[in-house]
């Protein structure tokens, strides 16, 4: 398989990250029991009395599901060299059982690394929506991508 190099990313490009299977109540509860046991993530009955009106996914579960889309759609097909971090995580609407999440990322900036000539930096903003086109998660980040070797 031919992988994408730094030179293959252009500012303004939209990267389609694909969609999750429907998020199940079981998966929401299993993740939250381990990592975020607030009652509106783990207890469907009590969650009805919360400000959400029902069970909702942990924001960290949503972030992890988006990471899976990112790995399958981009990282596995790119000369990926890691990331210095991510910024500005926002969860503007809750994720509920049965939701399907679709993600895309827009390339904001590309620049060669000054300190490491074998790679470049690609800055992006990722947006994730549910099946009703409501934004449920946004974040900005930077990826280190290997440069195409000169021939």
């Amino acid at each position: 398989m031919t992988k994408r190099y730094f030179e293959d990313f252009a500012v303004g490009e939209v990267l389609a990250l694909g969609a999750t299977p429907p998020v199940t109540e079981e998966a929401i509860i299993a993740f939250a029991r381990q990592y975020d046991p607030q009652y509106f993530h783990v207890d469907p009955a009590r969650a009805k009395e919360s400000i959400f009106g029902g069970l909702v996914a942990s924001g960290w579960h949503t972030a992890a599901m988006v990471m899976r889309l990112w790995v399958d759609a981009i990282v596995s097909k790119t000369v990926s060299m890691g990331s210095p971090g991510v910024e500005d995580l926002r969860w503007p609407a809750p994720v509920r059982p049965g939701d399907t999440l679709t993600s895309r990322a827009v390339v904001l900036e590309t620049r060669p690394s000054k300190s490491r000539p074998e790679m470049g930096l690609v800055r992006w903003r990722a947006e994730t929506s549910n099946q009703r086109d409501e934004l449920v998660f946004t974040m900005t980040g930077t990826s280190f991508i290997g440069r195409r070797p000169s021939l």
Copy 2:
């Protein structure tokens, strides 16, 4: 149990979030198979040839483990009203099997909400270190905390 209100948080206060049990190889692989299946997170043999020299936890797994500390130490004992988001996630060193992660958060700013008088905003920076006092994860965020009812 008496819960903490917005008025109980002071700028400069250090919130001890406690420590995780040792992070197991099994937990690292289980999380990553589902959410971040890069080879250095799921394949101990191949991971030896990676830049990490061995299996390391997904950064999202580390974030989720820190969320669990946060929930047990703070959220469950506070009149918590959610969060608008988190910022500046950084993973300065890898998390490896056997590591124990200890977290603390420093209160950076507190201010009453202008639009919602029943709550205030507490801005914090959280730092997570391993058993050798190496920083492995940092982030900044804001929590909405309920105000103490006037008598």
